[in-house]
Symmetry: C2
Subunit: 248 residues, 2 copies
């Protein structure tokens, strides 16, 4: 499994992904799931992937190849005029790769090669944008009402984001929120694992403002992980107590 | 979907279940998922069910019929000498009902009639016990290492139980913990819905010590739901702040 989150704040985008892939519990590997293309000062585009690893690697490799020769390929994401067109192109590529695999494998491939992708970024002169691309190639965009997208093992870490999110929060607080969400997920599910990749894209910087790999011995993540338990317990005890003698 | 939790504390058992059943989002109903049989002063047995509603209702109805004529049926749960035998009998009944449905419906029924059941209770002279019964009829028992079972939509509400559980906590705090876990789940998933059923079985009381239906206008649940958001935000802000200028 996987866990990736992309979040839109007033001040920019905060992105985090884990790196665990597994094919059964006895076949676990570390693969990067966050990929960035940038033309500093002009655009930055970051993808996070979940699903069949062969599918997502094929998407990333094709985008890499196109990016290396942007002049020859009109659909290179480094040349697309808008983030909408970037998402459209990635959706087309993802759908083509999945349907080709399913075509070759017939019925046996049904659903096995599926994947989804979070696309985040900003192009000069436009707003930072965040998309979720489905295996069918279509996609949705984050909005004021739904300002974050999760893919993979999304449920454990969702309640804290729902409760903690505030569009006005600092980028640092956005990172803290995702650290807590990942910590809750890691504690509950073995299929999501360290190290984590973190990227912050400050609004109108058109480049990666901060990038960090969170490993097992990361002091900040360790501090979050150990103090969140105590903080939750304090929060819990601050709630009104239940009594068996309420009137029913 | 469904969400039910059974939890073993030093002082007894705390059980909570929702009441929403759905067959598609346009066909939602309220059905009780918590069922109790007791001989006050001698035994109390409570079941919570998740899965196919026709299956779980068939299990409950058969147990009801047997309970009404306990002298005629050796396998009535009101006569079983131990909780282990109660769980065994419920497992057998559950498996028989599922496999009969699948037999009649052939391949089309594969997996569609599945259900699982949490069995909790205490019989005089023995410990309070908590089991999780699988659709195959086998079951596992809660232990010091795994002191609670969840069925249904389990993921959203799991991190807070993992973090907040303490075997020594009061029964009232146990209720509070499950209220928070249910609130997190309700906030994130429409397939789990109010009202909730709550039951507390104090150790060595051999009867239901407290029972309560939590409805939309329940003042305690409303208080938990509204103050948990603030409490979480305070907990979040009490954590160390992230800085982009850590050494990497």
């Amino acid at each position: 499994m996987t866990y990736c989150v992309g979040m839109v704040l007033e001040k920019g985008l905060v992105l985090m992904s884990d790196t665990r892939t597994n094919s059964g519990v006895d076949n676990i590997s570390v693969f990067r799931k966050m990929f960035t293309w940038q033309v500093p000062g002009e655009r930055i585009i970051t993808l996070m992937t979940a699903g069949n690893l062969a599918t997502t690697q094929a998407v990333i490799s094709q985008l890499e190849e196109r990016a290396k020769e942007p002049d020859e390929r009109d659909n290179a994401i480094l040349k697309s005029p808008t983030m909408f067109q970037v998402a459209t192109e990635i959706g087309r590529l993802l759908r083509d790769i999945i349907s080709e695999r399913q075509g070759v494998n017939g019925d046996r491939g049904h659903g096995r090669f599926t994947a989804s992708i979070i696309v985040a970024g900003q192009i000069k002169g436009m707003e930072p944008r965040l998309f979720m691309v489905y295996p069918e190639g279509n996609f949705i965009e984050a909005s004021l009402d739904t300002p974050f997208f999760q893919i993979g093992e999304t449920k454990y870490g969702r309640p804290i984001i729902i409760r903690g999110y505030d569009r006005q929060m600092s980028l640092e607080d956005g990172v803290k929120l995702l650290m807590v969400s990942f910590d809750s997920t890691l504690k509950a599910n073995l299929s999501v694992g360290l190290p984590l990749d973190l990227q912050v894209i400050e609004r109108d910087s058109y480049e990666s403002s901060h990038q960090h790999r969170v490993t097992h011995d990361d002091p900040y993540f360790q501090a979050i992980s150990s103090s969140w338990g105590d903080a939750l317990k304090n929060a819990f005890h601050s709630l009104p107590d239940y009594s068996f003698y309420f009137e029913d």
